[in-house]
């Protein structure tokens, strides 16, 4: 059975995939779906949900539904872009180090361990504060500080792959390093990279929301993180305007949960014996392999 078939048979992966896909569609189609143009004051400040404003309005009178949809665009963009940065860096380092071995591998392993120890949120806060706040800087800051988990996993995988028979055969037939990596190593780590990408998207959306909440978001753009931050700053809580806070958080939780389910499912499908103690590289860096009995 192919990997895709095996994946789709898992209900959790299917549900997670549908949720993430739905949010990608929402992000792309946001301008068409928004009932009011973003930036238009269309109601009273903090008006509760009604027929005209399904999710109520914010402190100025913007329609919350439109804001949330528009927030999807930026949050999802940061999520995917930062994940790609992390995957490109982490994947390249992991493959090269695992394949080359020797001093290079020791160096990369040391670097990975070092950055794994440094708590990432405080470091991101510091660097984001030094950099300045455009969405591109935020993507870079998040991406540049979340490659370690990817390197860790990929390096281990490549390290065992290169000892396998088919790599030795290819080499004895005179294949060069580049050819071996492209044709024999890469296809084997690809599913792992996909799983790591999906998990990275979740982490990045989380981190963006955290940075935005601390006032380090892009002031020019609306993301789910900035929606929560603005609602908090304009005392939505003491005004009892729960509708200004709830939707953005629900969206984040749904996307992140969807990503976790997909990422976890892919990891388990690649290596059914390696059930895992971790759900994502976000918090817990030490992995323990477990044998999970399939029901």
């Amino acid at each position: 059975m192919s990997l895709t078939r095996r994946l789709l048979r898992r209900r959790t992966v299917l549900v997670g995939g549908i949720v993430v896909f739905a949010f990608v569609l929402i992000a792309i189609l946001a301008p068409l779906l928004e009932p009011y143009p973003v930036g238009k004051i269309s109601g009273d400040p903090f008006a509760p949900p009604s027929a005209a404003h399904w999710l109520g309005t914010d402190q100025i009178g913007h329609d919350m539904l439109s804001l949330t949809l528009d927030g999807a665009r930026n949050s999802m963009m940061v999520g995917f872009a930062a994940a790609i940065v992390a995957i490109v860096i982490g994947g390249t380092l992991g493959i090269l180090a695992g394949y080359r071995g020797g001093w290079g591998e020791t160096g990369v392993a040391g670097l990975t361990d070092f950055f794994l120890v440094i708590p990432s949120l405080p470091l991101m806060i510091v660097i984001a504060a030094l950099f300045g706040q455009t969405i591109y800087h935020i993507i870079l800051v998040i991406g540049l500080l979340s490659w370690m988990g990817v390197t860790y996993v990929v390096r281990a995988q490549v390290h065992t792959l290169k000892e396998r028979g088919f790599v030795a055969r290819a080499r004895s037939l005179g294949a060069g390093d580049f050819h071996i990596i492209r044709r024999h190593i890469l296809p084997h780590v690809a599913p792992l990279l996909v799983a790591q990408t999906v998990l990275s998207v979740a982490t990045s959306i989380f981190m963006e929301a955290a940075l935005a909440f601390l006032g380090l978001g892009d002031p020019q753009r609306i993301s789910w993180g900035t929606i929560i931050q603005r609602a908090n700053q304009n005392s939505a809580v003491s005004s009892g305007a729960w509708w200004a806070i709830v939707p953005a958080g629900v969206c984040i939780a749904l996307v992140v949960l969807g990503c976790f389910l997909v990422g976890q499912g892919v990891e388990e499908a690649i290596n059914p014996r390696l059930g895992h103690a971790h759900v994502s590289p976000r918090f817990f860096r030490r992995r323990t392999a477990t044998v999970e009995d399939e029901q």
């Binding site: 070092f114 949120l121 405080p122 510091v126 601390l214 958080g249 984040i252 103690a277 999970e292 029901q295």
Partner: protein, 320 residues
Amino acid sequence: MSKRQKFVLRRLGSALLIAFLAVSFSFVLFRALPGDAINFSRVPNATPEQVEALRHQLGIDRPLVVQYGLFFQSLAHGDLGLSFRDQQPVLGTLLVAVRNTLPLLILGTVIAIVVGTLVGVTAGYGQGTARDRLMTGLAMLLYSMPVQWLALLLVVGLSRWFPSSGVSDPFLLDTGFWAVFTDRAHHIALPAVCIALMVFGPFALVARSSQLEALADDHVLTARAKGYGNRRVVWREAFRSAILPIVTLSTLTLGFAIGGQVLVESVFSWPGVGLATVRAVSARDYPMLQGIFLFITLSVVAFNFLGDVMHAVLDPRVAE
């Protein structure tokens, strides 16, 4: 010297190396990045002479290598510099913040670790049952929620009963022990619950899979074959081997909780390290930020080392 002592010494060596590298890294981060402290500090319309004097005063007109040495020298004296915001020594402000942060951090993580372990072990025992699915689902859901959002929801829902900001009531008249104690307990309730909820999710998931792994062990099968009851098998046989990753993770958790603490403290205006970070960020108070960054990184390194030591104590095999 026993193997175990050697192992601990080796881990100590690597912890010290990482600590040294982390301190150097913070030097690079704050000194060698484009622009220097003068650009950042708010001295509009300063004449070139004034800028030069200030650069000299801060020591940033010297070669980088000299600055690097001086940086370590003042660090060894516990001198983290003066805050840009109030010109007070960073160390003093930081220590006050740490004193406020610790009770919250410890209370929150301890609750999460105890509840998370209980839930994880119970869920792992009945793998695949409705109870397991419910508990795993809940843990995943909590894990997916942004902490700051969870905190705001707690405030919206529960601030009628619990105060939602600060450590104590400044207008409290009664200074008796119990009055003060209840006041403090009331104030710490919401933020501690919030930190507990944040840590609980990942912790329960980890506890569950450690327990699953332990249950698959041969010695558990033997215990079953001997006819021991469920309770004994789960808690005395399986849990004893599952406890190892759980202990290691407890120490790592404290490290990660410090990150989440920033958001929680910011919502609840809890005057700890987290709130100090938020203030330092908004005032672009770099000496303060650097102090906080050093403190957090070094405490994470220390906790990791502590985890290694506990690992060595609990499992003699680790040294081999």
